[in-house]
Symmetry: D2
Subunit: 503 residues, 4 copies
């Protein structure tokens, strides 16, 4: 077990804020993280070709704030200065909408998951939850939390939110598992702080973060007190190991060239984090034992996070553009069925956007002053995200044509003899270079089968809760009794006759 | 031809505003309208059992403003006092959202089309269009128009918007039709005003209105100047005939009883209006010959009106409630597939709501000061309305069971002998009266096959433009070139190489 | 209670077979049935304008056999002569396919439910079930049953199958209901036969039949023996009352004219049958107490009957034709989106047909010699029928345009003055009479909202079992364990490691 | 250019038929093919780890015929002995159905494309087309063709059908292209035979074949005579190069281990074939200049081939099994929404099967004696294949959970330290080894994102014609005029009044 005394690494020198994507990338170097990929410890993640595209995507969140501060930054009530919007606590519904607009733009710019939303949504949900815990139990989490936020804002660091436990046997509560580590929990408490153990799965962008906020993932009971822990710790804190998740086509970047990767510059990142008695000092503990608030925190976080999937409409914009481009290259852009498929893709894509921003616009003010998006509409948005990108992807494959999965590799294209055959025979419209046609097809492959299909499809399905989780939440919020009364009134049925049966 | 001298009827004594639904209904009496239904002229529409439910629905727009003024009224910048929201020109995005919330509420209360949105959307679109015509041509329409609005607000009258012409041969422009009356047009102009001829089809609630605003329905060319006419005239002006449209199950109200009608109190109204040299004085003319603005007017009106279909989410609430009630009466409310269908219905219903209010929230300010909803999202909202109510209706029929279409009539239920058999054999859960079970089934029939299916389904399909009209508009707004550039950038294709082919 | 001695009515003089639709209609006269409609006993159903269209539809099953004997008749192994295919017991898979082809053709000819399939499917399922009961219990039902079939074939009568009980509290077995009559059951047995009591809901075409075969509707337990009864009795047997089910727009035929009815000649029929100690002689009893075979009978019947819904593809043909005709009349037949919608409607419609005939083609021979259609494919066919006609109907409404629900009545069209306005203003393409345009629109209304929407939509949903019933059956037949083994083999998982958890 | 004299390679010594999968694999060795993959010429495709899984899949077509001769072989009318069904010309509808059953079984066994259908469908279509060319032009293709078939049957070789040209500018006919090689064509004719040039894209299993049959891909005009060529040549004939198509995750097999590949043993194969004056002797020429029959050949081939996609229902069985297995491993197999998703997957999967076998059952006999499947139903089947596997795949991803795309690699699992963490933390139900859970997830990844997603999804979309091709064919076959007459008759419109406008 690692002692806190041994922890000399400090994630970020706070005096010097990160001002650009390039500075961000430099900030990640030399942290001596325990990152494992393909069975080996990675010496420097920043320089690993499989990892780097995910770092590039995160870096865009910095550069966008520089280029378009209205969109991607906001004035913090804590620092009184402009901070990256991902670190900002929303002071109005409009600021939640601005989050969505920033998310869509970043989706457009990267075509992938840029990984910084979890932290943003965690900050916003913890703002109200720490306030309400204090209100109930007289604790002092809220001030601690705001101090942490202000520190993060000043340093302009990346905060990852670590929620999803590995869960073990789904039918048992955390404390009832045969292995107590199936959910992250406190192993001991000292004067300085507490120690946690367990693992978090599906951790988006964790290795590219500076800080992690650990949170419970499920409603907890009185017996689960040690599992009711929220706290922040540096990514390079002792006692943490990262197991990099492999993705479809992740090794294409190792093949040489850049075409076959489809989107050579950007990708997402998912990893498993294993905590082996990692230390959190009390100043960074925001919940410890208040199990009554675990469900509240999860619900608020998912409420924000489900409408954060508006980012996928930005990714969808790229895919629609790619489909339009290949139709153009193939010389069929004006065919009515081609136009009609682009319209359908757009209709579906804007449905994600529309329901997402509606959820933000309809936000309500919490006691702590932060705004929380509308629960029903957030869930409706995310539920569409579990369906519509698949149909948009299907239509993109329709427009792409079969060549997307039957064409030779970039190495063949570069081969003197074979390359000439490819250029001759895979020519589309005369004025379009064959290589461009191949590049667009590889991008569509990337987004519907390859590395970024992971983010655009599968993560759309399961991130922020699988489809059934939204259905449960919609069921809770759907006001069946109110709607029954509407119907009874119009049907001329006297209200007193209604006997309640359904929940 | 009717001379203006003959026109003694004044639609409404302006000195006395209508203050309630009851007063509204009285205001409709004695107008001597030429209304035809089932081959006969209707003596007094207010007392006709087929027509009355549509008047009741409109009356709710008055009563709601009394009961819930925050929701259904607003302070007019013209009268400086609170006016019905249906007569108000939106001064902010929030006011457009409030329109939507009022629409949903009225859908919940009536389960049908309450018919007052067309006028509201016409007023809002004419506000900016008259302003812009004046700006370009130095005309004085905008002041005239505002005076008209103020008069309407003071009287609290119903304004119907008459847009859809009968169109004749769809392949020819208005002036090129073999019969010039296929689109409403000016037949002559005098010192006092102008005369119009033609017919408007699918006129929602026109007979229940006090004033009609006639508008063109299509982009017009220089040759179509006489068709570029906008003006207001009283519903009871000379030279107007109304041909009442028949609806599925419209005569059930004539059968005696009230159960079989399903929703005995409320219904929609569609009629064809025939103008035979009807007169409009200059003070009520808001466009005359400025054909360049016909398309603008149509586009702005449909932009507002397509997101006005949020009302259907209120109607959907009733249908979801009815489906939940019958599941409860049948004793299967807790079956997982039943719950799941209610969730799906809700998810779809909220999609209409979410995309609609998103369109309103994202409104932009026009030069005249009115706010116009977002074009893309308005179209996306309406396009969902052409699909989702059908699926919600299908699921409601699934939950209803076959009895909805096989059970005997109310007269059988009232029959001493047969009624006893029905009560015995059509019993569901013991504590629920069989009659209540029948009533809810008749309501679902009403909304999926009967009179209000007309509004919930077919009008959802075609009102404010058929599906293809939305697809055309989505195609225009979908920014294909912008999206292609996003894709090319990520695919590593140099932008200068892109040759434009698609529009 | 009615004594058997009182039963002098004989449904059909067997010596003289019915040879045509006209003779069939005559055969229904003078039966003195107790039919109730709109609170009154109907003197002669044959002459009732609301009932007659359903009789006309049934009559087509006779005339088709005359016009196209290959399609609609077959050689009976019992009479050795050609009999109506609806009375024939299938001797091969090809004969089941021929049933489907006949069903589709009759759907095309009538645009509605022609009501004779239930009897056909009942005969085919009882053939094997009576055989297997005898085999197990040494009873003699099979011979009795074949004698009954031969009699029916010789007389060429209509046999209705009465299965669906009213069911009362769905959570309780028949014998456990508080009212024992919620399921049809034997009240007493005499030397001559047995007496039954109870009611059957949703009885398709029962009043238009000559004989009814009563069958249980649910799996029965040892305590439900009196409910395990199958027997045939004449429609005009004493102790039976018929409560006619009202349908959307059923009274349009009473309005005068024929246009507004949409399909003036044909309609379906659903009624509730109430048995009040109705008598069945032993020679017509085919099950009495063998509760073990109730579920078998229900499953075989639904297996046949679910693929009998292929008839809806014939009705769909009419609706596709109507949609194509109105597009033609509107002058938009060549628009690409119009063509595309017709293609989609066809694709969906042929899916019903394809899965239905596949079920018939894949039939297996039962011990008794009859062929039973494939269970999985029969269920897949019917499950599509619960979805696809709704989408086909939606697309038909899309192509129809809003006029379908806003145009005036036939009486207005016939009015000298108003009629002229309608003809002038509702003109489509110049060479098409306005009346024809109206007629086609009324047909589409009839099939999507009106009287035949009952059969095309709601009955498609619930007939032969509601959607969930098919899903239960698909779940039973889907061979999860077999498919898991396929997956484990390819994933390289050793089979012995699989621990079974799911059923 | 290669002279025929130089062609010493003979594809297969015909005297010795291939009797098993193992013998088949051996038969492919030492052919000195010019196969390019990743920019290098492949020394021996049989031993290339990326290629071998596709050879294994083809080998299953041999082994199945040994294990289950009823299913996978048939008695040839030419050799009078039992031959592999893939080489058999169908003598009855039942034999077409047996093709489908064999295809489904092979899909179940391999979880991928086994590549032998194109040749089967080419043989069956050429049987009737060569017969009809001879009938019209007095040529002798049919006998030549039958001799070739008999030779292939005796040797039990694999025949690939090469149809899809690379097409160049889609708006121009073959002879009108700026580069004449955009469609394969005859470059010269000698006494011995003819020479062809051009390229065929998306060639399924071509490298794994012994013979290729080259066919035109499009309707040809009188100016395209040199493009109207059909002929067979050995895969190892001089003048042919193969450019291997890369697939999603194709290099996972190179990573070491077998888990990450998902389905390590089987995969599909797509390559581009380039013909550079390849020679075909006259005895193997089956069309030369009869351009009138090009469209006929294409239509018949696609008719067979579209219903050959029934194979995907076999692949779907594997995916359903995998989804059921992971639900079981996760301990949620009994959750109602899980069961319901498996039911939906099955319903969709059986729809492919049902419509496919219906097409085969409804086959008609051609003049040559071969049976041709039903055109409408074949297209309906394939059109479903362009949609339903995507939805089945989506549901499989739903059931799989996010771990599918976030879990570490097999190398991590094999790492002593990290492997232990993975086993601890990715445990599902206690009795299931973590490795098995990972294996099933990798199989689902393989089928929905990885190597076999190419075949299950993208190839399902475009193989045998993209979706629009089926819609065109459905439009041709949908009998609009017949259906309009049905509607007019029921609407009471006199037939003579119908003026034809639509095609």
């Amino acid at each position: 077990m690692t002692e806190p005394a041994a922890r000399t690494a400090v994630s970020r020198p706070e005096a010097r804020p990160i001002r650009s994507g390039a500075e961000y990338i430099e900030s990640l170097r030399g942290r001596n993280l325990k990152v494992y990929l393909f069975g080996e410890r990675v010496a420097e993640p920043v320089d690993h070709p499989v990892i780097r595209p995910s770092i590039n995507a995160m870096a865009e969140t910095y550069d966008l704030a520089v280029r378009d501060p209205e969109l991607a930054s906001a004035v913090s009530p804590y620092t009184k200065s402009r901070v990256n919007r991902f670190l900002h606590v929303a002071q109005s519904p409009e600021e939640l909408v601005m989050q969505n607009k920033m998310q869509r733009r970043l989706g457009q710019l990267t075509g992938t998951c840029f990984q910084r939303c979890v932290g943003m949504d965690a900050l916003n949900s913890l703002h109200s939850v720490t306030f309400e815990i204090d209100e109930r139990f007289g604790t002092a989490y809220h001030e601690r939390f705001k101090a942490f936020v202000a520190m993060a804002q000043r340093g302009n660091v990346v905060i990852g939110g670590a929620m999803t436990d590995v869960k073990g046997d789904r039918s048992k509560a955390p404390a009832a598992q045969s292995d107590p580590d199936m959910y992250v929990h406190v192993t001991r408490r000292t004067k300085e702080g507490l120690y946690i153990k367990g693992a978090k799965a599906h951790q988006t962008g964790c290795i590219n973060s500076h800080w992690l906020i650990v949170m419970p993932t499920i409603r907890l009971g009185a017996g689960d007190k040690d599992y009711a822990v929220v706290g922040a710790l540096p990514v390079d804190a002792p006692g943490i190991a990262y197991l990099y998740g492999r993705q479809s086509c992740d090794t294409r970047v190792l093949d040489g060239g850049e075409i076959d990767a489809g989107n050579a510059r950007f990708a997402g990142q998912e990893a498993m984090i294993v905590f082996d008695d990692a230390f959190i000092p009390w100043e960074h503990v925001f919940m410890d034992g208040e199990h009554e608030f675990a469900a509240t925190l999860v619900e608020r976080f998912t409420c924000y996070h489900r409408r954060s999937y508006v980012c996928k409409s930005g990714v969808g914009d790229v895919l629609i553009g790619a489909a339009a481009a290949i139709a153009d290259y193939n010389g069929v852009a004006k065919a009515s069925h081609v136009r009609d498929k682009l319209v359908e893709m757009t209709h579906l894509n804007e449905t994600i956007y529309g329901t997402g921003i509606a959820a933000s616009h309809q936000a309500t003010r919490m006691k702590s002053g932060v705004y929380l998006s509308d629960d029903m509409l957030s869930n409706v948005c995310k539920h569409h995200v579990t369906r519509l990108p698949y149909e948009i992807g299907r239509l993109a494959q329709d427009l792409a044509g079969g060549l997307m999965v039957t064409m030779p590799s970039e190495k063949d294209l570069r081969h003197p003899e074979i390359g000439a055959l490819i250029r001759k025979y895979l020519q589309g419209r005369a004025e379009i270079p064959t290589e461009d046609r191949i590049r667009i097809l590889r991008l569509i492959e990337n987004m519907t089968l390859g590395r970024n299909a992971v983010g655009y499809l599968t993560e759309s399905m399961h991130g922020a809760g699988s489809p059934q989780a939204q259905r449960v939440q919609i069921a809770r919020a759907m006001q069946v009794e109110f709607k029954k009364q509407l119907a009874l009134a119009l049907a001329g049925i006297k209200p007193q006759e209604t006997k309640e049966a359904s929940p």
